[in-house]
């Protein structure tokens, strides 16, 4: 099936997740071969997701882990029965 740009945009998210039917995937790829606009939308979206997944982009606050484990230690110490629940 011949897809137009709007159809392709609707599939880009699922295409990136590799969750479109093989037949639709082929149609999308055929479209991408000749459509520079949709290729750029796909590339930019995919790259944004790569940046998103990078641990440097979304970080936990400094000292979070230390504070958390101190609090857990207090909890563990104050409830001697918790292991028996």
């Amino acid at each position: 099936m011949k897809l137009d740009c709007k159809h392709v945009w609707g599939y880009i998210s699922d295409y990136i997740d590799n969750s479109v039917d093989p037949a639709v995937r082929e149609d999308i790829e055929r479209h991408l071969e000749h459509c520079e606009i949709c290729s750029a939308i796909l590339d930019s979206t995919r790259n944004i997701l790569i940046l998103t997944a990078d641990e440097r982009t979304f970080e936990v606050p400094v000292g979070f882990s230390e504070k958390l484990h101190r609090r857990l230690e207090e909890e563990i110490k104050k409830d001697p029965e918790s292991g028996e629940k």
Partner: protein, 218 residues
């Protein structure tokens, strides 16, 4: 920690197996092991609550509370879902309680049944963005723009995006954690991604438009 992917896979598989054993040992009295059990999930839980509360201090407190609750109710964990999904559900509940207490009811309780009109969710055009992600990551400006754009997403989209794309949960895990139909997860994810693409275009390295060659997108 380990660059070799086969070794990494082996470690992950072993980790899931070890997790069940660790939980059994904690429940049998080796409570100190709880520290090790949750270490791999600190970031995940923090970012889950941060996506909902949008405030560092509140997110730190809610994440701590979530882990304390996980400790207290560890005996109720059933291996039907993954430990990470169970933790995520506790974290979401914790943040929801906090929002309710503060009367910031940002998360709708009724799911829309019809979300099929994507008309207003169209991506922005740029003609070429082939910047290597690793190089782009070095650009602080882009990282900050991304953080801001995610924070500004409507709540229902940010929550799905955070679980799926920041924390790396699968669609299935995301839908379990939110108790939401996987189809709706996919729709919200698609819209969140398009919105982010749109708001980040000004920060992406671009080349002059080449519409003349390809015409306008229809």
């Amino acid at each position: 920690m380990c660059g070799d992917s086969a070794a990494h896979f082996f470690m992950m598989t072993t980790a899931t197996h070890n997790e069940a054993q660790t939980i059994a040992r904690i429940l049998a009295g080796e409570k100190e092991l709880f520290h090790d059990l949750i270490r791999p999930y600190e970031r995940m839980v923090y970012l889950t609550v941060f996506a909902m509360l949008k405030n560092e201090t509140e997110a730190e407190d809610a994440a701590q509370d979530a882990f304390v609750n996980a400790y207290r109710y560890l005996a109720s964990f059933r291996a039907e879902s993954k430990f990470s999904t169970w933790l995520t559900m506790i974290a979401i509940n914790q943040a929801r309680q906090k929002l309710r207490r503060d009367k910031k009811v940002g998360f709708e309780s009724i799911e829309e049944t019809i979300e099929d009109n994507d008309g207003e969710f169209t991506p922005a055009f740029l003609t070429d963005w082939r910047e290597v992600p690793l190089e782009a990551l070095e650009r602080k400006e882009l990282r900050e723009a991304l953080q801001k754009a995610v924070t500004e997403l409507p709540d229902k989209y940010r929550q799905v995006f955070s679980l799926r794309d920041i924390q790396g949960l699968s669609i299935q895990e995301t839908s379990e954690a939110l108790n939401m139909n996987p189809g709706l997860v996919k729709i919200r994810l698609r819209r969140a991604r398009i919105m982010l693409q749109k708001s980040l275009v000004p920060f992406l390295k671009n080349t002059p438009p080449a519409y003349r060659r390809f015409g306008r997108a229809q």
